[in-house]
Amino acid sequence: MLAARVTRRWEKLPGKNTFCCDGRVMMARQKGVFYLTVALITGTCALFFGFECPYLAVHLSPAIPVFAVLLFLFVMAVLLRTSFSDPGVLPRALPEEATFIEMEIEAANGNVPAGQRPPPRIRNVEINNQIVKLKYCYTCKIFRPPRASHCSICDNCVDRFDHHCPWVGNCVGRRNYRYFYLFTLSLSLLTIYIFTFDIVHVVLRSMDSSFVLICFFTLWSVVGLTGFHTYLISMNQTTNEDIKGSWSGKNRVQNPYSHRNIIKNCCEVLCGPSYPSVLDRRGVMLEAPPATTTAPVKSTTPEPQTTKTTAPLIPNEHTPEDVKPSIDTTSDKTCPASEDEKPHLSQFPPLASPDTLEPAGAH
């Protein structure tokens, strides 16, 4: 009787991401270079396993291909984790929060004379005796937390934004920087490993060395990138900050996030806690009438713990047009079914009912 269709939040998220596996996988829109990365790694390793490993296993040691396989699997695992996970996207402000922030800005700016440009929206905070400017994001309608930045390719604010990497098809931010670094590191090791045994093979069999050349060029770029990120980690900086020269030292500006100790900086970035995603992708949305939405007809299994309490809220194909509920229902929105559900007064906050709208004095 109820429609089996369930709309999950990822279908309505703003921003230019693509989602797969019903919201579990999150990537950028352009994935072509990512497929190239996967093809290059898999192809090179396939050639290595196919042409060189049989000889090396027999004449040197069977451990050589075994270790190569393990390394290859590790590289693919961290690559997929980097590409498919949420980099630390900050959800956009809901209307009430956006209004609240606007009011605060207006109160802070005071009265701007007509014709004059209002001052830029900046908030100053002091972090470890350093003044850091928090910028306002006009797209997301929030003041960006320190170290966050807006990625124009994905159209999201990302926490501890490092850079947008087309090779992994995703932004690199707080949640997946560690995996990105391990990817570059393990890929460097894999490339060096293959390169070394290529040379050994060539020397032992006196064969042509064209394959060695390809490895040589890949090696330098990947090893160079790993070295660069090792430097950034030891200084507790992001690529974004490095490019902009935020903590370059001019005007006695120093990095307030650095512990001034290489070991501590590395530990914080690599061994810190794994942050959870704050972007709700798999939450179930209350069904709006089909006329206004273009929800894709996915045959997802109906979620048992939906927030719907009364059946008529969910129109299906057979509900006549005139009995479809309107969106702005006040009491229904604030009485969810499950006991641990907080009121989702998100999209259409219930208006105060007329009898409370009295011009009474303030308390």
């Binding site: 006040t330 907080k342 308390h363």
Partner: protein, 158 residues
């Protein structure tokens, strides 16, 4: 004037939303998750300052515990790295465990302290860990209570 509500369910059914107060993050110690304990003026007549500050301080302690970089986080990180992070598909991270505790704590606070005063705290994770949203409700039935629009206009005229 304190409006009486008996429990959370009654709050949701019989009250109408007057305004929302947003407690911002406190970045003075860096990017760790910490909220400001400054008491907002809109809650002045609704709840005692000490109760509010206790709630925020306890939440800050929970978040500090979740983000602590120490023996347990190293162990978790190294173990996860050794398994190429496949273990995260079946294991819950420490942060997620603490978030569950936070969620329970907020629900308990809502039931015991905030709902009887016509307030409701939203878990920060639902707002991207940016703000603690406190919804201020007015009883629909009572006609003598101050209106939502007047409290909103009083806050903008500050």
């Amino acid at each position: 004037m304190a409006t009486e509500f008996h429990n959370l369910q009654e709050l949701r059914h019989s009250a109408s939303l007057a305004t929302k107060v947003f407690i911002q993050r406190d970045y003075t110690e860096g990017t760790v998750c910490k909220f400001q304990t400054k008491f907002p003026a809109e809650l002045d007549s609704r709840i005692e300052r000490s109760l509010f500050e206790d709630t925020v301080k306890t939440l800050n302690n929970y978040y500090a515990e979740a983000e602590k970089i120490g023996g347990q986080s190293y162990l978790e990180g190294c173990l996860a790295c050794a398994t190429a992070y496949v273990i995260f598909l079946c294991m819950e991270t420490r942060y997620e465990k603490v978030l569950k505790k936070i969620s329970k704590y907020i629900q308990e606070q809502n039931e015991k302290i905030y709902a009887p005063r016509g307030l409701l705290i939203t878990d920060p994770i639902e707002r991207g860990m940016r703000v603690i949203e406190i919804s201020v409700f007015e009883d629909r039935g009572s006609s003598g209570s101050s209106s939502g629009s007047s409290s909103t206009s009083s806050s903008s005229g500050r």
